[in-house]
Symmetry: C2
Subunit: 253 residues, 2 copies
């Protein structure tokens, strides 16, 4: 039995465009082409199309299907295993996306519908997430997982009052730092006040303070472009100025 494009298309449940495309990429050539240029398919092609659609339904891309069906030496089991890995990776990616969307929704809806307490909890979570997202990789590389986890734990255990204090203190650091910057002297009174405020601010996030870690963080504010961007937002050179002030504050040479 022979078929034209539309006939085979209806038979297999695809469109004629699909068959022309498969012809174009050499995946399924018609048995012959008649004098008017019409594509004519025979039973052999029907079978092959079935095979193609079988793999297609598994989500295998056409190039791979082509290899499976055309080169008899091609290891189809191997190809399917690779394909399975791709699917599993894709599923993991999706799982992560879904988890993140749900966390975000929780936080966002929380702002509208949850009690103040829950609201604040969700907000803290969002803060942690956002922080992780922005700086997580770099910080974890430099300070290790343990330190970061401790910090996150500390944030989670903060009360709403503590959080507000931390936020206000953070803003004050920026204000004083800006004033100090205008004096141009990182050893001056204002700059050292900023460094001290910064130390206090750190107390909300770090479980213990050390001058070395403080100085290290200050250097990172300059080295890491993300941190630098944050401090330089108002005024270029602010990150360096803060670092210098902290170096003096912590007694680093």
């Amino acid at each position: 039995m022979e078929y034209t494009v539309q006939q085979l298309a209806k038979l297999a449940g695809v469109t004629s465009r699909t068959l022309r495309y498969y012809d174009e990429i050499g995946l399924l050539k018609p048995a012959r082409v008649n004098t008017s240029g019409y594509r004519i398919y025979g039973p052999k092609e029907v079978d092959q199309l079935q095979q193609i659609l079988f793999y297609r339904e598994l989500g295998v891309d056409l190039e791979t299907i082509k290899q499976i069906l055309t080169s008899p030496s091609f290891d189809d089991v191997q190809a399917l295993k690779q394909h399975r890995e791709k699917l599993l990776a894709e599923r993991r990616r999706l799982e992560a996306l879904i988890a993140n969307v749900e966390k975000t929704l929780l936080a966002k809806e929380g702002r509208i519908m949850m009690s103040d307490k829950e609201k604040f909890e969700a907000f803290k979570q969002q803060l942690i997430d956002e922080n992780e997202r922005k700086y997580g990789k770099e910080i974890r590389e430099k300070y290790g997982d343990e330190q970061v986890n401790k910090s996150n734990e500390k944030v989670k255990n903060m009360t709403q009052a503590q959080y507000e204090e931390a936020t206000k203190l953070g803003e004050e650091v920026l204000r004083v730092l800006h004033e100090a910057f205008l004096t141009g002297d990182p050893a001056g009174e204002l700059a050292q006040k900023a460094a001290d405020l910064h130390r206090q601010w750190l107390g909300y996030f770090w479980d213990h303070y050390s001058r070395e870690a403080h100085a290290g963080l200050a250097q990172m504010y300059v080295d890491d472009e993300r941190f630098k961007a944050y401090y330089d937002q108002k005024q270029s050179g602010m990150a360096e100025f803060l670092r210098d002030a902290i170096f003096i504050y912590t007694g680093k040479k």
Copy 2:
């Protein structure tokens, strides 16, 4: 602080091409363009890019992100919920693909590595799957789930010997049918023999036989293009001939 494309790109962890593309589609315009045509971004744009990347990491498409960020009336929670639905649907699709790939792998590996017995079991499973894939929807619509499930159960319970008998019988049906077709008489001895063989063949798949169902199936062989293609493979008109023979065999008017 101000940034050129590359600087902002490094800052945010994207390529400059991405920033140009975002400019092109109006998602993130630079603060200004200098006399040489360079794009210059300010702190406001840095913030907006962070927002964009936040949604992008959730898998939201750029067009939706644009709406969320540009029109302040846009309900971002609603958008995220819709997005979550899309993600969940995509995950369901993936689950199905993975399950199918795994079933296929089981069957294919089985052919190589499993014992003859297991081999045969996997093959039967593949047969059922393939049948479901090819005709499942139509058959379920016409005969209902119960009937199809019973049929699948019957196949599963077949022994290897029975399976081979069924296959041989199926081939014999085709052979005799072909011979009968050459006589052109659906009421003739050969055609009636074919119809009888077909009834016997059905015995391997149906849990009980009825003339009505037999006649109905025969009609479906003509109506459904997939079945028709199977019987017409050797000779056009075979499906109709078989139907006529079965109609006579079952005494249908």
